[in-house]
Symmetry: C2
Subunit: 205 residues, 2 copies
DNA sequence: TTTTGATAGATTTGTTAAAAAAGTCAGCCA
DNA sequence: TGGCTGACTTTTTTAACAAATCTATCAAAA
């Protein structure tokens, strides 16, 4: 990946961590470079020594938390063989990822158009990795004879992810609140379990 | 419902129609009472004779188009017995309703908070009616032995609607466009057919 | 090589006056 | 007298512009 001394990498990490906290609590546009520098007792100019500009600093933070998310997902899914269990874990982990970083993602909701396109590469990579992990489990379930063979496993996995996503979106947008309440989380979870259940039954012989 | 002479009702209708056209083409906030009055060659004051204020005029238009939508849905679904066909029709009709009135609904997207709460009653009523129509078909399919009995048909119907909804949302929000393109509509449609297929299979014996 | 203070240039924010819109009302008229 | 209007008041939006804040740069210090 990147070259540089250990010292540089450590400082880079420190900057990423401080930036993450700011972005997380105040969002992208309400975070200033001065504040980040202040948190680290550094000069603002140093931030520009390590990162070309604010937007690319943001993308770097995004890359980091996306990476952490994927590592968590991977480590757990590689041990899971049950298809239902796999989807439940995926959907819960993804949900936590969104909820825990809600403010961080406000640059997506308000479409902050000055962000570099590389951020979409990260989004795309996340999706591809999720798909790959689940598809593998799916295929091994097909091979194991637990569900019937289909000609396009990836499409099926993608479809179920879409459907599960819809369970959250609808239950939120229906009411005027923008974000699911604690009470609703259980309801969403129950609905998703039911959906996975029916869907997988529909894939059996 | 409302009392008044036939003449009054006719004028009311004319106002609703003219308002609808304005809201549809320019959205809520970019439509003025003067323009609506101008289209009808009436004075603005007359609008206030028939409707208490702008927001309630908007709600009245909403109630009208929601009513039309539900009538269309009802007339067709009452003749459909096949569960799959019913869901396909529902989802397509709903989609058309949203697409055809896209600008009209901009008051929802930008959350125009000065709209009266009664608008949510309409949304709620739409959903309930949709549910009722589909649930009836669902139940008659259960009775006919085509799918297995479940303890809560409404919940199942609701779930499938959520899931189908998700197919559209994900395929849109994934890319940065806010609205599905023509080319995507076919893809969405195909995905939904597949989802309905698998889901209903999962409900069989 | 890493760090900074000073500073230029761009963007956001706050302010205020003018314009446009919502909403009201006394009275006209068929 | 119910339906309608023009003229009016009040509220909201827009435009312009100065002040403040923020991003980004750079010469020079550590």
């Amino acid at each position: 990946m990147s070259v540089g001394s250990d010292q540089q990498d450590i400082k880079r990490e420190k900057i990423l961590e401080a930036s993450y906290q700011r972005f997380l609590h105040y969002g992208y546009s309400k975070t200033t470079m001065n504040e980040i520098a202040g948190d680290l007792s550094l000069s603002k100019a140093l931030l520009y020594y390590y990162f070309p500009d604010k937007s690319q600093l943001y993308v770097a933070v995004m890359r980091k938390i996306a990476g952490d998310y994927l590592i968590l997902l991977k480590s757990r899914l590689e041990k899971i063989t049950d298809l239902k269990e796999a989807f439940v874990f995926q959907i819960n982990t993804h949900h936590d990822f969104i909820v825990n970083n809600y403010n961080f993602f406000d640059s997506f909701r308000l479409n902050e158009q000055n962000l570099p396109d590389t951020i979409w590469d990260i989004v795309s990579e996340m999706h591809q990795t999720e798909m790959k992990l689940l598809s593998d489990i799916f295929k091994s379930n097909v091979d194991g004879g637990k569900i019937r063979s289909v000609n396009n496993p990836d499409e099926i996995v993608d479809l179920l992810l879409d459907a599960l996503h819809g369970v959250r979106v609808r239950s939120v947008s229906h009411k005027k609140m923008r974000f699911p309440q604690k009470e609703h989380l259980d309801e969403i979870h129950a609905k998703r379990l039911l959906l996975i259940d029916i869907f997988i039954k529909g894939l059996m012989y």
